[in-house]
Subunit: 359 residues, 2 copies
C-alpha cells in the first residue's frame, strides 16, 4: 500500500513511463487519447508527484526575495529578524532567502527596488503601499511569472498573488471595542473622552485604524477627540500629548495608533492619580514594558514572526503551484494584556544528540 509512482501510473494507463512523463510535465507531442488515459490513471490511483524527489532531480533550490523597510523601528526590525529565523529553519527545505532593505515611507524608492529586482527568484514578498508605479512594478513581476506576496500593507488586490497581514480597519475596531469595554461602567453623564494619537494622516494603515476605532465608538457615548499627529516620533509625542492632556484633563482613554510610544510612556509615568486607559500597537520592548508596569492596558499586535512564517508557506505553495495554505492560520489582530504576554523562553530543551548519532 505504498504511494503510487509515475511508473504505476504509466502501467495503469497502458503507456510507457516516457509518455506518462510527457503528460505530467506537459512536454507536448502526446496524442489526446494517451493524455486522457494518463490523467485518468492519475485520478484513479490518487497519484501525487513526490515533490522532494522532483526537486532533488532538478537540483532545484527555492529563492525567495523579501523587500522590507529598513530603519530601526521596532516592528520592522522584528520583521527582518523573523526572516532570518525562517531562513535558518527552512534551509533544510532547500529554501534560500534574500533580504533587501528599502528606505521607509519612500514609495519611489520601493518602486525602483521592485523594478530593478533581479528576476532570479521564485517569489517576492514586499511591504507595499498603493501607488500606480508600485502596482505597475508588481504587475511586471507577475507577468514574468514571479508571484508577489504583499506583507503588512497591501497593494491592488488583483495584481498581487496574496496578501498576508492584518486588516487595519479590524485592528482599529478591536481597539475601539476595548475602549468601550473599559468605559462601559461609566455613568451616562460622563461617558468619557478618548484621544487618538496618529503617526501621519497620509499613512493608509494609520487612517484605517482610526476609522475602525471611530466606527465602533460611534454611538457608544464616548467622544473621540481630534487625533494628535506625532510623526511616529518620541519627542513630538511628548510635546503634543502633554499639551493635549493639559488642555483636556478629562481624557479617559488614549489610543496610540502608530510609533513613538517611548515618549507616551514617559508622560504616563508622571501622571499622579487616575490614569487614562491606554492602548498601543505592536508588541515591542517598549510597549511590553508598558504593559508589565501597568502604564499600558492593552497592546494590539500583528505577530510579525507568524506573519513571515505564513508568507513563506504561501510563497512555497505559489512556487509549487499548490493550493494556498489553511486560512485558519490567518493573521488577526491579537490583543495582549499584562497577563497573556508570550514567554521569551524556549518550548523545551531538545534532547542532546550523542556525537555521530543518527536521528
Amino acid at each position: 500500500m505504498r504511494k503510487p509512482t509515475l511508473q504505476d501510473v504509466a502501467r495503469a494507463a497502458g503507456v510507457s513511463y516516457a509518455t506518462a512523463d510527457r503528460v505530467l510535465n506537459a512536454r507536448g507531442n502526446v496524442a489526446e487519447k494517451s493524455t486522457r488515459r494518463v490523467l485518468q490513471a492519475i485520478e484513479t490511483l490518487g497519484y501525487e508527484r513526490d515533490l522532494h524527489a522532483a526537486n532533488l532531480s532538478r537540483g532545484r533550490i527555492y529563492h525567495f526575495r523579501f523587500l522590507l523597510p529598513g530603519g530601526d523601528h521596532s516592528f520592522f526590525r522584528a520583521l527582518r529578524q523573523a526572516v532570518e529565523a525562517e531562513a535558518s529553519l527552512r534551509r533544510i527545505d532547500r529554501i534560500r532567502f534574500s533580504l533587501t532593505e528599502v528606505p521607509t515611507l519612500d514609495s519611489d524608492a520601493l518602486a525602483r527596488a521592485l523594478e530593478e529586482l533581479p528576476r532570479d527568484c521564485d517569489a517576492v514578498a514586499v511591504v507595499a503601499t498603493e501607488t500606480p508605479r508600485i502596482s505597475a512594478a508588481i504587475a511586471a513581476l507577475s507577468a514574468a511569472h514571479i508571484p508577489v506576496v504583499t506583507l503588512v500593507g497591501d497593494a491592488a488586490a488583483d495584481i498581487r498573488a496574496a496578501y498576508v497581514g492584518i486588516d487595519n480597519i479590524i485592528a482599529g475596531r478591536t481597539a475601539g471595542r476595548l475602549m468601550r469595554i473599559a468605559h462601559m461602567a461609566r455613568p451616562a453623564t460622563d461617558p468619557g473622552l478618548i484621544l487618538p494619537i496618529i503617526g501621519a494622516m497620509s499613512a493608509r494603515d494609520h487612517r484605517d485604524r482610526l476609522m475602525g476605532a471611530k466606527a465602533v465608538l460611534d454611538g457608544s457615548g464616548q467622544q473621540l477627540l481630534e487625533a494628535v499627529v506625532v510623526d511616529d516620533r518620541h519627542d513630538l509625542m511628548r510635546q503634543r500629548v502633554t499639551a493635549a492632556l493639559a488642555k483636556t484633563p478629562a481624557i479617559s482613554g488614549i489610543y496610540s495608533i502608530g510609533a513613538g510610544n517611548r515618549g507616551l510612556i514617559d508622560i504616563l509615568a508622571r501622571i499622579s492619580g487616575p490614569r487614562p486607559f491606554v492602548i498601543m500597537h505592536d508588541l515591542t520592548p517598549t510597549t511590553r514594558a508598558g504593559l508589565e508596569s501597568g502604564l499600558v492596558d492593552a497592546v494590539i499586535d500583528q505577530k510579525p514572526a507568524q506573519e513571515i512564517a505564513l508568507a513563506v508557506d504561501v510563497m512555497k505553495a505559489l512556487a509549487d503551484g499548490r493550493e494556498l495554505p489553511d486560512p485558519a492560520r490567518d493573521i488577526t489582530p491579537t490583543i495582549y494584556v499584562k497577563d497573556n504576554l508570550p514567554a521569551a523562553l524556549p518550548l523545551t530543551a531538545p534532547a542532546p544528540l550523542a556525537a555521530g548519532e543518527t536521528p
Copy 2:
C-alpha cells in the same frame, strides 16, 4: 556555491565516501582519527544532510499518532478536524497520521490506550491528564524511543518530550484582567460581583483558570462569588445559573470556564436591562454567535488549528532529531472580541492550473 554533499565532506576529510558515511550514520568500525577528520570537515564545510534525499533513499514515511478525546464537544471536534486538515497538507512531506479517539475524562481508558498503542510510529501526541498510570505509559513509550508530545493538558514535565498548549493559569489571569478592565470605571461603593462557572472542580485546567482569575481579581475590589458547577452540560448550566442570577441579581460579570455555553447564551438572551460582562472559553459556533450577537463580550481561545500545526512541527523535529521549532510561535491564550474574529474565507483564490501544466 551549491550546498556541500557528503562526497565533498569525504574529499575534504581525505577519506572515502564510505568512511564518511560510516561516521555520519554511526555504523562503527571507524578509527578515531578518521572520525575526527570527518566531523571537522562537516564543521568547516557547514555540511547538512539533505533530509529529503535521505528519506527518499530510506523509503521513510513518518507516522504520527494522535490520541484525542472523542465525543461531540466543540473544542475536541475542532482539534480532530485540525488533524485531518494537517494530514492532507503534510502528505506531501511523507507524513501519515493516525487518529484514535479516547473516551473523554476517563484517565484509565487513556492509560490503556497509551499502553496498547502500537509501537509502529515515530511520535505520539496526546491530550494528557496527570495520573501515575498515564505517566508510566508515557515513560514506557519514551523508553521505546517514541517521543510523546502532550497537547492541551500536560503530564509530568520530565517525561514527555514537549508540551504544546496554553497555560491555563495564564488563560484565567487573562480573563481576570478583562473583568477588571470592564469593571474599572465602577464606583468604589459598588465594585461589582463576578460569577465563575466551572465544569468540574476535579478538572485541572478548570481549576487553573479559576485560580488565575482569582489571582488577578484579588485586591481589585470585585468580589468573586463561589463557582457554579455545571458538568459542562447545557441543561445544568441553564438551571443553576438561572438560580444564581435570581439569588444575586447584582452580578456584573460572568466567567464561564468550561463548556455548556449554549445554555448560558439562552439565559443571557432573556435578560432585559443591563447584562453582565460575559467571558467564555474557546471559539466555537456557539461562542462565536454569542460574540456576534453581543450577548458575549470576550472569548478566550487556544487556537486548536495552530496548536495541531505546531505539534506536528514539533513531532517532525523530534523524529528528525532536530532542534524544536521557534518558540515565538508558541501558543498563548488569544482574546477574541466581536471585532477581531477570524474570517471564514480563504486567503485568496489559487491561480487555476492549466491541464497538464507543470508547476
